[in-house]
Amino acid sequence: MYPSDVKYTKNHEYLKPLGDGTALVGITHYAQEALGDVVFVDMPETGAAFGAGDEFGTVESVKTVSEIFIPSACEVLETNQELEAHPEYVNEDPYGKGWMLKVKLTGDMNPELLDAAAYEALVSAESH
């Protein structure tokens, strides 16, 4: 549910470093479960630059429309075009087929990102 090669935000996004200065960004297992069926993901243009915590889009589920935020400063290299036809990938495989952005990290890694253990502790506290 919370892979160890991924870093997490308190807002339930993740950043998965790919080892070459790039990373994948998406929402966590906890987030997709809380949202329910994802039906639409509104994403930024390729080339857009963001700082940590900037809003980069919205994810719409049967329940609500939620803003999603950038985990660490980056530039967007690619957005997951598959999600247009298959938004359910975000539910089915949030860290795999359900990725949203491929980014180039710019500047230092956001020091507030959580590791898997810390994030799991956070979500277990939220869901009591």
Binding site: G36, D37, V39, T58, E60, V62, K63, V65, E67, E88
Partner: protein, 420 residues
């Protein structure tokens, strides 16, 4: 705050993966696996809903008819079918209880079970309030009002496979389905009632079976004794599995009813004048549309109303929605009202200016149906169908079209025989 209530099926919901939310005073399933799949199942196969949180009120006595006729917006002498026949034994009718100011207390199905014997079905947590209201209005008359809140189980089975599913679990399905038009009922949940022999499950459980529901699709609402609820639910689930029957939560119920242009009480109707809305059939208007066929509590206020807001149905261009609580309605850049409901009917899509349902027989081949947002707005004045307005919630603005209907080709009114 008092502890939240649970229906008899709460443990079943938990054990079967339901996502539980607070709804009124109750803890209810909002979805099990996927609200989208649940919505689609009801349109294409069938879904089972726990509606035991709704409240049933028994109203009986020599003057029960007169008190209901005074309190209810429908004319009980002229409300059944196209010919406006009287409400007779075994028939039910949708309408609203208003206060003296013409504002909605709650909407309801009123069942006539026998002369002087009625059943009134209202929304969750409204049993007490409506029962007190009826008792107050019937003061000094021969009428007894008994609030059966939390005394019964209620299960809705909705969707085209409902009929084949129920045919497997009923003792005498042919007799039960015979002459059972939309908005009629047979049987009784009370084993002591003379009606109880009419509808029984194979194990002998008596149920009141009503051909009605809150999805726009064909199906039934079943009332049973509270301690029978889990067994009735499990029997129906097992029988329907081969037809694709799945349990459904409140999210699917909400999106299905919006696509069927049905209001949610206290959200789409409520503490404002109950007039100028998409449900004029619920008011007993004269055929001319001017004035009512009877006087009833609140009718004077409605007749004298000036400047009342208009409630209108809308459909979006795609599946994107806005947050109804935050959204406002704009026409040509001017704010004109508020959004009451905005959800996505996942079973419909647009093609060349027309809306198709996934169940439409003439749906173009290969048409990908992704859903359309829909719901109700409350605005200052009337708007013609086809008018485009914009809904803005601060995050996004979506254009939507004023409409008279949303999901086409709904099954609710089709002959039961066509589903066997």
């Amino acid at each position: 705050m008092s502890e939240l209530k649970k229906t008899p099926l709460f443990d079943w919901h938990k054990a079967n993966g339901a996502n539980i939310v607070e709804f009124g005073d109750y803890l209810m399933p909002v979805w099990y696996g996927s609200a989208r799949n649940e919505h689609l199942a009801v349109v294409c196969q069938a879904g089972l809903f726990d509606t035991s949180h709704m409240a049933t009120i028994r109203v009986f006595g020599k003057d029960a008819y007169e008190v209901l006729q005074w309190c209810f917006t429908r004319n009980l002498d002229a409300c059944v079918g196209k010919d406006a026949a009287p409400l007779t034994d075994g028939k039910c009718v949708y309408g609203v209880f208003l206060d003296e100011h013409g504002m909605a207390i709650d909407d309801s199905l009123v069942y006539k079970l026998a002369d002087g014997e009625y059943m009134v079905e209202v929304n969750a947590s409204m049993g007490g309030a409506v029962a007190r209201h009826l008792a107050e209005q019937g003061k000094g008359r021969d009428i007894t009002v008994v609030d059966l809140t939390d005394k019964l189980g209620k299960i809705d089975i909705q969707g085209p496979a409902s009929i084949r599913t129920m045919a497997k679990v009923l003792k005498n399905p042919e007799a039960v389905f015979d002459k059972l038009p939309y908005f009629s009922a047979k049987g009784h949940f009370d084993p002591a009632s003379p009606l109880a022999a009419q509808v029984q499950l194979l194990d002998g459980t008596p149920v009141l079976l009503s051909r009605s529901g809150y999805t726009g699709e064909v199906g039934f609402e079943l009332f049973c004794e509270r301690d029978r609820t889990v067994s009735v639910w499990e029997t129906i689930m097992a029988a329907g599995a081969e037809f694709g029957l799945i349990p459904c939560g409140l999210a699917a119920r909400d999106s299905l009813r919006a696509g069927a242009v049905l209001p949610l009480s206290h959200q789409d109707i409520g503490h404002w004048l109950y007039i100028n809305h998409p449900w004029p059939f619920a008011l007993s208007f004269q055929p001319s549309g001017k004035g009512f066929t009877k006087a009833f509590l609140g009718s004077k206020a409605l007749e004298e109303a000036t400047g009342a807001a208009h409630t209108l149905t809308f459909v979006g261009q795609d599946l994107r929605k806005v947050d109804a609580h935050a959204a406002k309605v704009f026409l040509d850049g001017q704010e004109i009202g508020t959004v009451l409901t905005c959800v996505t009917d996942m079973a419909i899509g647009r093609h060349e200016g027309r809306i198709y349902s996934i169940a439409s027989p003439d749906k173009p081949e290969g048409l990908a149906i992704k859903g359309l947002s829909c719901g109700f707005i409350k605005v200052a004045g009337p708007l013609a169908p086809g008018t485009t307005v914009e809904l803005r919630d601060g995050k996004r603005a979506i254009p939507v079209t004023i409409a008279t209907d949303v999901r086409p080709d709904r099954s609710a009114r089709k002959a039961l025989k066509s589903f066997m």
